[in-house]
């Protein structure tokens, strides 16, 4: 044990000057392409570019279609967050990759003895402070973005129609308020905010009209609300997002966003009286 100790001591003898020489500043020293900053910058730029490209393309092309302003803002949020996060995470990749490229001697992985000790850098105040400040600024940006989007999405509007969503094992039923119409398919008028009052008959379900970009659980014994603003005609999916037992996978249905006229027509076809339809669709305004 003590022999080991002596070895270590000898190892360090007279290394001080060598160590001092190795301490190169981040921004200075030699031609520009040899400075650490430059190398890190190259990798950083590359990784940032990849991140930004992913952010710009993936949500647009992979994400499910959008039928509501909420889903539009989900897409926008993903783009914005990815674009913000890309340069930050690229810093880690840049530093780690540059270190590996620059300071890893070839074949070190096969060697049984370690390379010489690196620079005894036990911390760097300014770097830590900058790192922390950037994180704080980012968190504030992300938080405000989230709060803004959330409040704009969920503010109830005067002309919102209110309908009841009932989850049960393993079917969704939708009740159109005063019209007493119940359907297993969700038909909604376009350009009208709709407030879903969601509840469950048995266990917890997750009410998720996918392309509407909103989601809330259907809890037994309680009613929860969520607002969506369909803004595009067409079909959308309704899925259950909370494991609810045996047939959870099949607890889904489809919905349609239709024009106001078609909507009233559909309600009438289902057997609602004109008066009730009027009460339901117009009086909300």
């Amino acid at each position: 044990m003590s022999s080991e100790n002596i070895e270590i001591d000898e190892f360090h003898e007279g290394k001080r000057e060598e160590v001092a020489k190795q301490v190169e500043p981040f921004f200075k020293g030699g031609p520009i392409w040899k400075r650490p900053f430059f190398g890190v910058f190259i990798i950083w730029s590359f990784m940032t570019l990849i991140g930004v490209l992913i952010g710009l393309f993936v949500p647009v092309h992979v994400l499910n279609g959008s039928s509501s302003s909420q889903q539009d803002s989900v897409k926008l949020t993903i783009v914005v967050f990815t674009v913000i996060a890309a340069p930050v995470s690229a810093v880690v990749y840049g530093i780690a990759a540059y270190s590996l490229i620059k300071w890893n001697k070839r074949g070190s992985g096969k060697s049984d003895t370690p390379p010489e000790d690196g620079v005894a850098l036990r911390g760097h105040g300014p770097a830590t402070v900058i790192w922390l400040s950037i994180s704080v600024v980012l968190v504030v940006i992300l938080l405000f973005w989230g709060m803004m989007v959330l409040s704009s999405e969920q503010t109830p509007q005067g002309d919102a129609i209110r309908m009841q969503v009932v989850g049960q094992q393993w079917v969704w039923t939708f009740q159109y308020g005063s019209t007493k119409i119940t359907s297993t398919q969700l038909v909604l008028p376009v350009d009208r905010q709709v407030v879903f009052e969601v509840s469950s008959k048995d266990v917890t379900h997750g009410f998720w009209p996918v392309q509407l970009g909103v989601q809330v659980d259907a809890n037994p014994g309680f009613s929860t609300t969520i607002a969506a603003s369909p803004n595009k005609l067409g079909k959308f999916d309704v899925r259950c997002s909370q494991l609810c037992g045996l047939e959870h996978a099949y607890m889904q249905t489809t919905g349609r966003v239709v024009t106001e006229k078609q909507f009233e027509h559909w309600l009438a076809q289902k057997g609602a009286s004109p008066k009730a339809i009027k009460l339901f669709t117009t009086d909300a305004k």
Partner: protein
Amino acid sequence: MKRAIGALVTVLIGAAIFVAIGIGFHAQKYQSVAPTTKAVDTGTTQMVNGKSLKVYTLNLYSYPDSTGTFDASTGAPAGTKPVAIHKNGNPGWPAYGPSNVFQIPAHALVKVHWEQRDSGGSLNNSWFAKPTGTVGPVTLNGKEIPASGIDPSQVGHTFTVRAEPGVDPHFFLNVAAPLNPGNPTDTSTPQVMEFSFVSGNKGLYEWNCEFPCGNGIGGFGAVMSAYGFMSGYIHVV
């Protein structure tokens, strides 16, 4: 090289264990309870809109006890050899028969003859007492039931069908049969429901019972959560 073989052997052993467990699960939990029941071709019919559709008939039974046998007293034609209603029957667990897997052709009129022998009670959601997705009248013991459906507090079972994820159009059928008023053990006098529906596109459809006939707070535990008793597939071919 030796090490490569060792690594390969490890992976193969791992794969073998995985396959063994997988076969165990497959065999234990996914065996069909009886051979697939195929709908029988019974001619063609003229629809209201003038289209002519092939007609198929499907027989469906619901029993109070899955440990019983399927014979003349429980609905099979006289002279049929008795077979178990359910391979892994459990006393006190109701079951559907003659199988939980049905096969019907696409875009045909399917006439269903359903003999309901189980007791019952109140539905969680009275909406399921009303027939949905049926074509023509729905009869109970030969009498047509009102459009509002049967009494939701006197339901035996429901036959509720929907599409698997991604199958289009979203196919939906729901018919409830009332409970058997007689002695629950007396299964010889069923409630007979008759109804028809038009099958959708080809695909795999899922049916289950929406009457909470299981245990637990919602009544959907035990038999309702065990695959093959109150749930199954409909292959539309």
